[in-house]
Symmetry: C2
Subunit: 325 residues, 2 copies
DNA sequence: TTGTAAGCGTTATCAA
DNA sequence: TTGATAACGCTTACAA
């Protein structure tokens, strides 16, 4: 069934049907109603392919689905993708999935996706210092939003992010309020934007409370085992910390293992509020992923529609209190 | 850049370029090489939209992304989707995402997706008795594969599934070998295909070992709290079980909580090998999700190509041994 | 306000 | 083996 079927059915020209679809206001009330009725009666749907050929717009947005690394932090992406799909749908867009082993491969995929499917835009997750992907896209004037700040230039492109520093700050404040004084931090090696951001929240609050530089700060790769090792190290000190803020739930989980054998109780806070945290009662900083996804779609569709919108959005996480702090 | 650009560059007609792309064998060796060179030199990619208009095929497969329910079992879908994207890509297809609140809404989405984007096929996850979705698709002769058996008719349509009974059977056998005799099962209420299947594996092995009907079998909704409650009930019996097989990691996690307070140690086995299981050391039955996704794509593309392929595939899960059994 | 004509990039058909 | 032509379903420009 084509637009011609609808036109015949409503006894108008094809063009009038197209107008009802794309510029309803220029069609006479009664004609529009008759056409609309024909459309619903026939269950007509405009062919995207034909529409795209003419307009050059596909109403398709690409998003990457990553291989679930350790699984713990992977589920974050899952929720984000679901939010993306839902909001995009409401805005008349569809999400197309792709994978890529590394940045080079990802860029090759952009090329492919753009050439073959004529994608309208991209939503990138996890940005890094000097990200080659954003440079590639920007150079070609492709519309995109990142979930994650451009760590080099604050306004290089539209982005949505969660204020990690605010999250760890909130956690640290909470621990101080509970009477803790020796609050350690287990984070990733300096250099990653996300990791440094989260560390800074803890550091700022500790400094403001007068514990400048004295609180133990560890750097390690992500992973349960690494978290356990670091925590054991911390506990072996003369004056071991009574609480620890971790940059991820994986590390927090490891810390929790080490803490189990400790003489005094130690409070532990994780980051990301993953299913694992919920399952074992780990207090964790929770990212508003659905909201973040919604803002991504909003920003991207705004750019696509040529509307001047907010260049970015920084969302606040919340601390989910459970048993470990 | 269009096919005409390539044609000019290689000094052939548009049609010849098209032939090189779609029927290379009918083009003379030397011409083909020249055209191929022009294609790579120009970085040409055929427009899917134009191709689709002519052929009626979009090379698009739709898959549903569900709202992460309790999160624990949700990550299974995540891995499946990733596998799907990867295999589909290799086969020249792309995955388009959609969500739906319920079956009716999902069917409406099929209609939309089919009408607007002319999707080639669907991959459905989680089938139930008398699934209205498969009936709708079959009636309209839409190509689809389900991850999950059609529980009513074994060969109603192509499907891929994991042999849940084999998984619980393996777990039960392992427990028997370890010397356990009173092995309970905590499952979902009878009536769900997946739940009944998993229960049957445990029951069969127990019956074969001579414990017919005597082993405690519980039915409950999924969830950590439900698992804990059922396990406490079981432990309160005169002769409490020394081991329990659970239909899901959520229930197993709850059981594990209850077990912690028990006088004698109790072995616990879960199902799905979710990140939570890995994190806390829960022994669990693991589904080969990447393989399942690959088979789904294989079956679906086979149907789309009109090739007579295996009508279905039943994959074997593996038992991942950790600390709890 | 409605209708006519052209063209988007591809492939199928058929003639050379 | 290669090339010309038409057609897929839609929207934009323009004429009625």
């Amino acid at each position: 069934m084509t637009i011609a079927t609808v036109a015949r059915h409503a006894r108008v020209s094809r063009q009038t049907v197209s107008n009802v679809l794309n510029a309803p206001h220029i069609v006479r009330e009664e004609t529009r109603r008759r056409v609309q009725e024909a459309i619903t009666a026939l269950g007509y749907r405009a062919s995207q392919a034909a529409r795209q050929m003419r307009t050059g717009r596909s109403r398709l947005i690409a998003a990457r689905i990553e291989p679930t690394r350790d699984g713990i932090n992977g589920s974050v992406l899952d929720r984000f993708l679901h939010g993306l799909t839902e909001t995009a749908d409401a805005a008349g867009y569809r999400i197309m999935l792709y994978t890529a082993r590394d940045d080079d491969h990802e860029i090759a995929t952009y090329d492919d996706l753009l050439g073959a499917y004529d994608l309208d835009g991209f939503v990138l997750t996890g940005t890094d210092h000097g990200d080659p992907r954003t440079a590639w896209l920007a150079e070609r004037q492709v519309a995109f939003v990142t979930f994650g700040r451009p760590w080099d230039a604050p306004d290089a492109h539209p982005w949505v992010d969660v204020d990690g520093a605010a999250g760890t700050a909130q956690a640290t404040r909470r621990l101080l309020d509970a009477g803790h004084r020796r609050i350690a931090f287990i984070g990733w090696p300096a250099g990653s934007g996300v990791g440094d951001d989260r560390r800074s929240g803890w550091r700022t609050v500790m400094a403001a409370a007068g514990f400048d530089g004295t609180a133990p700060d560890r750097e390690t790769e992500d992973g349960i085992d690494h978290g356990e090792r670091e925590m054991r190290d911390l506990l072996a000190a003369d004056e071991p910390p009574t609480a620890v803020v971790c940059v991820s739930d994986s590390l927090a989980l490891g810390a929790l293992r080490a803490v189990r054998d400790a003489t005094a109780p130690v409070a532990v806070v994780g980051f990301d509020d993953t299913p694992v945290a919920a399952a074992i009662g780990l207090t964790s900083v929770s990212q508003p992923l659905e909201a973040a996804a919604a803002r991504c779609v909003e920003l991207l569709t705004g750019v696509l529609a040529g509307q001047p919108t907010e260049p970015h959005a920084l969302l606040s996480p919340t601390l989910v209190l459970r048993h470990t702090a």
